[in-house]
Symmetry: C2
Subunit: 71 residues, 2 copies
């Protein structure tokens, strides 16, 4: 499993399901738009704490960010 890709795809999936832009989502988690964009484009790994901030802002359980499309 390519975790950076799975995480980036899941972030984009849940963010777009919320119907908000990268900028609005970045504000919601107190991060910068370019950071969110880089994660969604697999250009950025992130730490456990930021994983938790993103899951909280997406209002989902953290483990869902690690499920592959077919899981």
């Amino acid at each position: 499993m390519d975790i950076v890709k799975v995480f980036g795809d899941n972030l984009k999936k849940y963010r777009t399901a919320m119907g908000i832009s990268q900028e609005a989502f970045a504000d919601k988690c107190g991060m910068h738009r370019t950071y969110i964009s880089a994660i969604e484009c697999y250009r950025r790994s992130i730490s456990l704490e930021n994983i938790q901030r993103i899951a909280d802002a997406l209002e989902i359980e953290t483990y869902k960010l690690f499920l592959e499309e077919n899981e």
Copy 2:
């Protein structure tokens, strides 16, 4: 959810279930024993790539490292 605590507890749970020491597990993932010890004692956050290396070495799906005890 305290992600650093949940991750550390899950790492210890799955590692001890495999019946191997922190040292042997560290060797298995190509990391240092003190790094594994620090994660299990909540003293260390880690990156996505290292999360994947640990899940692979534990031979479990990555998302299981993010499930709380009652999930």
